[in-house]
């Protein structure tokens, strides 16, 4: 049975057992973040009383965040065409360092927890996929290192105009759901790499069978970043599928923090998932999910739109693509 998932969009012919351990999955997924945030470095900001509560979902977010970064770094730079090697991607989630005052990475877990407060979640409370997406969007605005644009498609609807406005550099105004990165430091790039998150609910208490094929198809798109979701009460990061089983990485592990250094070589073992991916039947998944996509360029985004439109013709639709928000401009009904 072919295994399909992130980076394996053409369907790999290897056997699933072998592939589960293969490097491609491990690399592309980069699931585990490094900071053992519940154990150190966090006392200056948050007194974490319950380690468990803060841990899991936050790790899941970082996994998504660092994954996006990795994706972005691995693409050739526009000017030289060469790959940028050894990216400081650990900075994204690095904890605050007290001795030399190095600022914490934008996606540092405590920052995430603090951003969650703005979304009505007190520290220690569990997040849903939508909250995760909102927090990630807010944090991306603070991220100095990558010019990543995070867009969240609310109400299952992707408005392409909004995204183009957000990603094209030089256009200053950003909508309420866009992070307001001005991109001035990266003026040579015309398109900010886009992370598109679509929070969905594919059923009330269990996933509606009509959407399963479409969900699977999402993993096959080359732009796929996987799916954040889980089974009831436990968060997972889905990266692909085999037959009717979804392959997921379990973020419920803390790993040691990597000390931020300016050296070129850092040990990045703890950025990867130490244990092999697990599997679960697709019907066990909780219907609340957020599907992630990454578009490195405008052509990539156009390609994604086309592919999604094609998917919509064949399968039950998960979401909708609109050219502009004009249709919804005057949505406040007169009573």
């Amino acid at each position: 049975m072919p295994l399909k998932g992130i980076g394996l969009c053409k369907g790999c012919k290897e056997k699933p057992q072998r592939l589960a351990n293969s490097k491609s999955i491990k690399f592309r997924a980069a699931p585990e973040s490094t900071n053992a945030m519940t154990e150190k470095d966090d006392n200056e900001q948050i007194r974490v009383t319950d380690k468990r509560n803060l841990g899991c979902i936050v790790l899941m977010i970082i996994s998504q965040g660092s994954k996006c970064t990795l994706e972005r770094i691995c693409r050739p730079a526009d000017s030289s065409g060469a790959l940028r090697m050894r990216p400081p991607f650990w900075k994204m989630a690095a904890p605050r360092k007290k001795t030399d005052g190095t600022p914490a990475g934008s996606f540092y877990a405590c920052n995430q927890a603090q951003m969650g407060v703005g979304e009505g979640k007190y520290i220690g409370q569990w997040y849903g996929p939508n909250t995760v997406a909102q927090v990630l969007r807010k944090l991306a605005a603070f991220d100095q290192w990558s010019s990543m644009a995070v867009h969240i498609a609310m109400d299952n609807t992707v408005v392409t105009d909004e995204i183009r406005r957000l990603c094209r550099l030089g256009s200053g105004d950003s909508g309420p759901l866009c992070n307001g990165h001005d991109g001035a430091s990266n003026s040579h790039r015309m398109w900010r790499p886009l992370v598109l998150l679509i929070p969905l609910r594919l059923g009330l208490s269990e996933i509606n069978g009509a959407y399963i094929e479409t969900l699977k198809h999402c993993f096959m798109l080359p732009q796929s970043l996987g799916v954040i979701g889980g089974r009831p009460n436990s968060a997972h990061y889905f990266i692909g599928y085999v037959g009717d089983e979804l392959i997921y990485l379990d973020p419920h592990t803390t790993q040691l923090a990597v000390e931020p250094t300016d050296g070129i070589y850092i040990a990045d073992d703890s950025f990867h998932c130490q244990h092999p991916p697990c599997r679960m039947h697709v019907s066990e998944i909780d219907p609340s999910i957020a599907v992630g996509f990454f578009c490195s360029s405008e052509e990539d985004f156009d390609d994604w739109c086309q592919r999604i439109r094609k998917t919509m013709l064949v399968y039950a639709t998960l979401g909708y693509i609109l050219e502009s928000q004009y249709d919804y401009e005057d949505t406040k009904l007169k009573k």
Binding site: P129, N156, L177, N233, S288, Y328, T331
Partner: protein, 130 residues
């Protein structure tokens, strides 16, 4: 942000509209409404019974013009619930299908109305995971 739910709304929403009224009285109600407002679509909007975060609506029965889109209708629900734009609101038709926001209410009604003549719409927020 304080929790959006208050205790009275919880009690009101323990039973659904279908459970509160028998089929024949629902059909009767639809017929009555259709005679009085022939150009409107009768819609029942209810909070899903397991929802704990979002408040329930004061009124569940809505008469909707057929030409408005589902998107407009959903944003009307958002207004009624006074939800911030970043808060998730998942609107489902017949408790199982996601609402297509570009569809007009008439299309939704003709395709997915209940046998009693109402269109049933329920809403929930996202689940949380630990």
């Amino acid at each position: 942000m304080p929790p959006l739910v208050n205790s009275t709304s919880l009690e009101l929403n323990t039973t659904s509209f279908k459970q509160r009224k028998r089929l024949d009285s629902r059909i009767h109600e639809v017929n009555r409404v259709k005679i009085r407002y022939p150009c409107k679509i009768p819609v029942i909007v209810e909070r899903s019974h397991r929802e704990k975060v979002l408040p329930s609506l004061q009124k569940v029965k809505f008469l909707v013009p057929p030409e408005i889109t589902m998107g407009q209708f959903v944003s009307m629900i958002r207004c009624r619930l006074s939800l911030p734009p970043s808060h998730s609101l998942c609107v489902m038709i017949n408790e199982r299908q996601m609402a297509c926001l570009s569809m007009t209410m008439l299309e939704a009604y003709t395709g997915q109305r209940d046998q009693d003549g109402f269109l049933y719409v329920s809403y929930r927020s996202h689940e949380v995971f630990g």
